[in-house]
């Protein structure tokens, strides 16, 4: 990431005539961004969009400076946040908590120090710490997929489900999915964890295919997992029997939906670009009087061959 010259930024900041806003005294404002590192597709996309947003905003607002830290686990993330506060004097923190519990008190401490806090995607365990909450709609993610299954399958049809890493987020999605297909007469044959990982999903799907002779559809609940699932189905030569719904809008999958692939009828969004939304709103609050506190929930939409074009980002890693 290009580190801007702080003095230059400050000088430019001084040149900007202070508009009558909260604490706009023309000095450089520092925004810290703490996110998990790019360990799978979705987080890779999230990292990409975070860097994009930061580059764009540094261009737009010379008086803003950004510190980006990516962490491989909750402990490292806490250290990153402590360092930002101690050494970089951040004015605002945008954080996607690695896990809710361990990050709650460190982020609480940041908020108590008078620093603006924006929480992304996963809520903290204690309500009311953050000034701004930006998230995808996990319940909607499961519900939209479930409704599609309920509408497009008939009573007595069999489906299998691959779940993500065991987390509250995964539980929310699966519970909403189960609620949406309730009463439709669809049999859920099995639910196992594929851990949002291609290889694990491939193995689980191979075993499903050995175990069940009649599967009509698969809810893979994530596009990384969908890739593994499709491969296992192809190996068994059962492409004609079942269709697959992933989620989160990986570009390769979207490309196939655009082509009208019968195996991949639809997808459900859960945009990794939500981090850009969070950074943009935080920056807006820092540089202007625009009120940006509250909750911003990005809806989960259904991607179909008709609208897939507008969800296709060929430059993103995801």
């Amino acid at each position: 990431m290009k580190r801007r010259d702080i003095f230059k930024g400050a000088a430019l900041g001084l040149a900007v005539v202070a508009t009558p806003v909260m604490a706009q005294d023309g000095e450089t404002k520092v925004i810290g961004v703490a996110i998990p590192s790019a360990t799978h597709g979705f987080m890779g996309g999230l990292n990409y969009h975070a860097q994009e947003a930061i580059a764009r905003l540094e261009e737009t607002y010379p008086q803003l400076d950004f510190v980006l830290a990516t962490a491989g686990d909750a402990g490292t993330m806490v250290n990153d946040i402590e360092d930002m506060v101690a050494t970089r004097n951040i004015d605002a923190l945008v954080v996607l908590p690695f896990e809710s519990e361990p990050l709650t008190s460190p982020v609480q401490a940041v908020a108590d120090a008078g620093i603006w806090v924006t929480v992304v995607d996963r809520g903290l365990s204690v309500p009311g710490i953050e000034d701004l909450y930006v998230a995808g709609d996990n319940t909607g993610f499961g519900r939209v997929a479930g409704e599609y299954f309920a509408e497009n399958l008939t009573e007595g049809d069999n489906i299998v489900v691959l779940r993500g890493i065991p987390t509250t987020l995964d539980n929310e999605r699966v519970d909403a999915f189960s609620a949406a297909i309730e009463g439709s007469g669809i049999n859920v044959l099995d639910m196992q964890h594929g851990n949002w990982n291609r290889d694990d999903a491939f193995n689980v799907m191979q075993d499903y295919l050995s175990k069940y002779n009649d599967i009509d559809a698969v809810w893979a609940s994530d596009d990384d997992m969908a890739i593994g699932v499709l491969e296992a189905i192809a190996q068994a030569g059962r492409e004609e029997e079942m269709w697959v719904v992933g989620g989160a809008g990986m570009k390769e999958i979207i490309a196939r939906i655009m082509e009208g692939d019968p195996q991949l009828p639809v997808n459900v969004t859960y945009p990794p670009a939500q981090i850009a939304t969070a950074i943009e709103l935080t920056a807006l609050g820092m540089v202007s009087a625009t009120p940006v506190s509250g909750r911003f929930i990005i809806g989960s939409e259904m991607i179909t061959p008709e609208n897939a074009e507008s969800f296709y980002f060929p430059d993103s890693p995801f």
Binding site: S37, A38, T39, H40, G41, M43, G44, G45, N47, Y48, R163, P166, D190, M191, Q192, H193, N197, R198, D199, F202, N203, V204, Q206, D207, Y208, L209, S210, K211, D224, I227, G228, E231, Q235, A236, E252, S316, P317, F318
Partner: protein, 332 residues
């Protein structure tokens, strides 16, 4: 796959539990699986499980030599991801000049082996010549390779060109006489490994070095070179495993090969190799790999317990397998 176990030469007069422990555990698992699901012993399922095991299995054979010689390698999972990334990038880059065909894939395979060799050599060099603890060196390189593959993939996924993939796919999915290629390669690697461990000076020297470095030195064993060799062989085998892995999903990302090193080490220990070195058993390692894969497979096929507990069951079986071997040890 019991033919591999049958390749054990000169069985000892005393049949003791600590040789048979892992075999018994494997037999028990097979009986359990067959009783829970009629498809368990079907051709399709057996092929799936063995082909899946091949990656960890090929790596674990190399790990057996490293551990026998008193070393450890924590970097193999990241190394596999890195080698896969380099291989995919090279293949994609070579398509315009070489076209899609056997020469392209052969070049990719050579690149994978060369990358694995180089990565193994680097580990081995730092450990044997610069004399840094193996645990520390490979812990460091584990992070390095994992970061490098993330960087190569720009935080996303490296995907092989679609047409090249269609051409390369049979390497994982097809086989000879109905036996999938990964299974054949795994079997060949395992048999060669077993022969090397039992019937060559190299295997005996590894055990001598792991048992007592000073004594090995006085016995005119070139200790440094031997230690370097074990890491180089492991690196090469990571390359071989990657050659099998890439055609499966045609992609590599930061999540490729996560925790493979621990699975490989666990397989080696279940198989009866001593963690602190001095004694290794390649056929035992093969049994260990199969035990680990079968646990996963049976849990998927049977859904007897909450999937949250899969890890716990694996843990219990790993510890049990080792405890079974210990009992007779104390009587010796």
């Amino acid at each position: 796959m019991t033919d591999i176990t049958a390749s054990e030469p000169k069985p000892r007069r005393r049949v003791n539990l600590h040789v048979l422990g892992p075999v018994l555990a494997l037999v028990a698992l097979i009986i359990l699986g067959a009783s829970l699901n009629s498809n368990f012993l079907s051709y399709g399922n057996v092929t799936n499980v063995l082909a899946r095991s091949a990656f960890i299995g090929i790596i674990a054979v190399g790990m057996t030599f490293v551990i026998t010689a008193g070393g450890i390698d924590l970097s193999v999972g990241s190394m596999a991801a890195f080698v896969a990334g380099v291989m995919i990038l090279s293949l994609n880059a070579l398509i315009p000049s070489m076209g899609i065909g056997v020469p392209l894939i052969a070049t990719g395979m050579v690149i994978a082996l060369a990358t694995g060799f180089a990565a193994g050599f680097l580990n081995g060099f730092l450990i044997s010549k610069i004399r840094i603890e193996a645990f520390i060196v490979t812990l460091g390189s584990m992070g390095i390779y994992r970061s490098l593959v993330t960087w190569l993939a720009d935080g996303g996924t490296l995907s092989l060109n679609f047409d090249a993939r269609s051409f390369y796919r049979p390497v994982y999915y097809d086989g000879l006489l109905g036996i999938a290629w990964p299974i054949i390669v795994f079997a060949v690697v395992a048999i060669l490994g077993e022969l090397a461990m039992r019937h060559t000076p190299f295997g005996r020297h590894c055990a001598a070095l792991g048992a007592n470095e000073q004594v090995a030195k006085y016995s005119a064993i070139k200790v440094d070179r031997l230690r370097l060799m074990t890491y180089v062989i492991l690196g090469l085998l990571v390359g071989v495993a990657t050659i099998m892995y890439v055609p499966r999903l045609g992609s590599a990302s930061a999540s490729t090969g996560v925790l493979w090193e621990l699975e490989a080490i666990a397989a080696v220990i279940i198989g009866g190799t001593v963690l602190k070195g001095g004694f290794g058993r390649v056929w035992g390692t093969v049994i260990g790999v199969l035990i680990l894969s079968l646990i996963d497979n049976i849990l998927n096929l049977a859904s007897i317990v909450s999937p949250y507990l899969n890890g716990a069951i694996q843990g219990v079986i790993v510890i049990l397998a080792v405890v079974l071997q210990r009992e007779s040890k104390s009587a010796d």
